[in-house]
Amino acid sequence: MQISTLILLLAAVLIAVFWLGRDKAIRCAGGIGSVRKLHSLPGYYGYYTAIWCGIPGLILIGLWFMAGDVLILQQITSQLPEHLRQLPGPELSLVVNDIKNMAAGQFINPARIGELSDAAEQYTNLQDASRWILAWSMLAVVCLGFGWAWSRLSPGFRARNRVERVMKTGLILASTLAVFTSVGILFSVVIEAFRFFQKVPVADFLFGLNWSPQTAIRPDQVGSSGSFGAIPLLFGTLLISGIAMLVAVPLGLMIAIYLSEYASRKVRSWVKPLVEVLAGIPTVVYGYFAALTVAPLLRNFGESLGWSVASESALGAGLVMGVMIIPFVSSLSDDVIHAVPQSLRDGSYGLGATRSETVKRVVLPAALPGIVSAVLLAVSRAIGETMIVVMAAGLAANLTINPLEAVTTVTVQIVTLLVGDQEFDSTKTLAAFALGLVLFVVTLILNVIALRVVRRYREQYE
């Protein structure tokens, strides 16, 4: 019996049980004509029965997935020959892998074939048995659940309230899942960052002016011990994000104002999706656009003026990133501006204000909090952007405010730290987690501010 068959069977049973429960409810009430005697609609009795069968069944499957294989492997390893059982942990798990592979018939380790063929066979048998145990116990559980639900069905039974409660619990579980995921990610980043800070002092990391993460890979290798000052990276990130925002905010805002205040409905229905296409272009494409088109243009232009422009400049990356972010600013601001009540515009027009006066003095001030939060969301997007910067801004960790020079950003360094052969507990690798933590904190702060601002805005109108 395959697990997928089992799940399909369960689904079929649930559908059948739903109709049985519904049917019983109708019969209890005395036919379809007198359904009003029931406390809830007949369907709710069906759902109630199905829930009592389905949820225990699903829990059982979940338990089997979590514990079944572990129990089987324990059984198998306890029966292995003595010299294999005495192996240290990692090697034992290699042996277990060999058994699994042999059982699946995928890859057979020729050195172990004799010792393990028994174990592999036993593994297959036990797995088979465990699936049958699961199937039978599910049958029992489903029957029990069905019996319990069935015995409770009566016209006065409040099925709706119970079904709604289960629904609510399901929704809560869904949202906690998202929360736990982000907490888990944060937790792992924090732990690795903590290990990094045991090797490099926090102050050196946060306030150091020099970033050169080259460390010796092997003990016998000659190499620098590396220096991990994050300031040049943070500065580079801010510089490029700043250039991007200089492009995106004015352009995005003007697009938003045009779309919401001036454009006819027809133009708006065409232009808005077209602008949003910008957000759909993969960042890699933006990256080589920046590196191959914009950067040479800037360099040639700079040379014609007698400036020296690095072929990988902060300006090129920033400009292209700004274009990428335009739809974030324009779309969000457009929504916010659109949400400003028409009555305010009427009031302004009614006093003889022109369109641009109305926009400047009434609509924009009223929409300002929302626009600010749109901009902040765009900033956090700019700070987290990687691909464009990898391709167009270079890897040199220069501490400079000259946009014509090459800089690097936090995200780019995370990429370069993790690409390449490094031990996972080396300072260099761990530095990536510390940088990730910094990035996480910065964007989190921005998001919190944005949410605060949005909330205040909502309070203002209704």
Partner: protein
């Protein structure tokens, strides 16, 4: 098809309805005007307004006004004068075109793309819809107060100073102060709000907000004030204050007020116009409308026997 037919007939028409938005479809109602028999048989007056549409000293005078939204006709052949120093109440069931009519008078319908307006609208003899008329100046002369109080999310002071500022009415801070305090005074708000000038306009109570909107309107010194159900979201006490204010203002301004309250119409207005399904059924002195209406529809409406 009917549009083409209307264009073919157009040269035979005696009047020349002004075309504002759409050049093709506007003449159809004008063509209908010569055929009163086509109108709803229930209308005894055959489209002619009962009573006296003229005012002795007209500020605004409207002739042959027709308004269409896309394919629906919102107003048919409206003729009405609004006189100096008078309050005229526009009454009628919802959807009868009162608001549309009011919004024609300061060209607020310009902001609605689908609206097409024909007819002559004169403000002191000047054509409101003439090409050379500046909408900005027009709306400064014909102010408007809306159904729902709509103060700007700015300070009380800035709310009132908004109009004078965009029209450049004050050259110094002191002049602006005079205008703002004077307008609030006339709106009866100054004593209540003197110490709260920096509070947000939106933080006031509904009645205060509406009076703030009136103060905002009179700050630009209009000649006419249009009020679209200014009391519909207010309680009786705030309503009474607004009505007193209207009484007060009527000495200096021509006021047109839309209301669903017969009592309010009777209390504040000198003349009353009754609209029904896009037609102006009857205009007369308020006393006469409420005691001895000349049209059966008017009588049904004011006595509450409607429908």
């Amino acid at each position: 098809m009917s549009n083409e037919a209307a264009i073919m007939e157009a040269p035979e028409l005696q009047s020349e309805p002004r075309r504002i938005e759409d050049a093709t479809a506007v003449q159809e109602p004008a063509a209908k005007r010569d055929e009163p028999m086509m109108m709803d048989e229930e209308q005894e007056g055959k489209g002619h307004t009962v009573g006296d549409i003229t005012a002795a000293d007209p500020v605004i005078s409207v002739r042959n006004c027709n308004v269409h939204y896309d394919d629906t006709c919102a107003l048919k052949n409206i003729n009405l004068d609004i006189g100096r120093g008078e309050v005229i109440a526009l009454i009628g069931p919802s959807g009868c075109g009162k608001s549309t009519f009011l919004r024609c008078l300061n060209r607020m319908n310009d902001t609605i793309d689908s609206a097409r307006i024909t007819g002559t609208f004169n403000l002191y003899g000047e054509d409101i819809y003439a090409a050379e008329t500046d909408v900005v100046l027009l709306r400064a002369r014909v102010g408007m107060v809306f159904q729902k109080p709509n103060p700007f999310p700015k300070s009380i002071y800035e709310n009132v100073a908004y109009g004078p500022r965009i029209h450049g009415l004050a050259t110094s801070r002191a002049e602006m102060d005079d205008i703002v305090y004077g307008s609030l005074e006339r709106a009866g708000l100054l004593d209540e709000l003197k110490s709260r000038m920096d509070d947000r306009g939106t933080s006031l109570s509904g009645g205060q907000q509406q009076r703030l909107c009136i103060a905002r309107t009179i700050a630009v010194n209009p000649e006419v004030i249009l009020m679209d159900e200014p009391c519909s979201s207010l309680d009786p006490i705030a309503t009474a204050k607004i009505e007193d204010l209207i009484d007060e203002l009527s000495r200096n301004y021509a006021i047109a007020i839309i209301t669903h309250s017969m009592h309010q119409a009777a209390r504040v207005s000198r003349r009353t116009a009754y609209f029904h399904l896009g037609r102006l059924i009857e205009v007369d002195a308020t006393d006469k409308i409420f005691t001895n209406p000349g049209h059966r529809l008017t009588e049904d409406y004011v006595t509450g026997r409607f429908g």
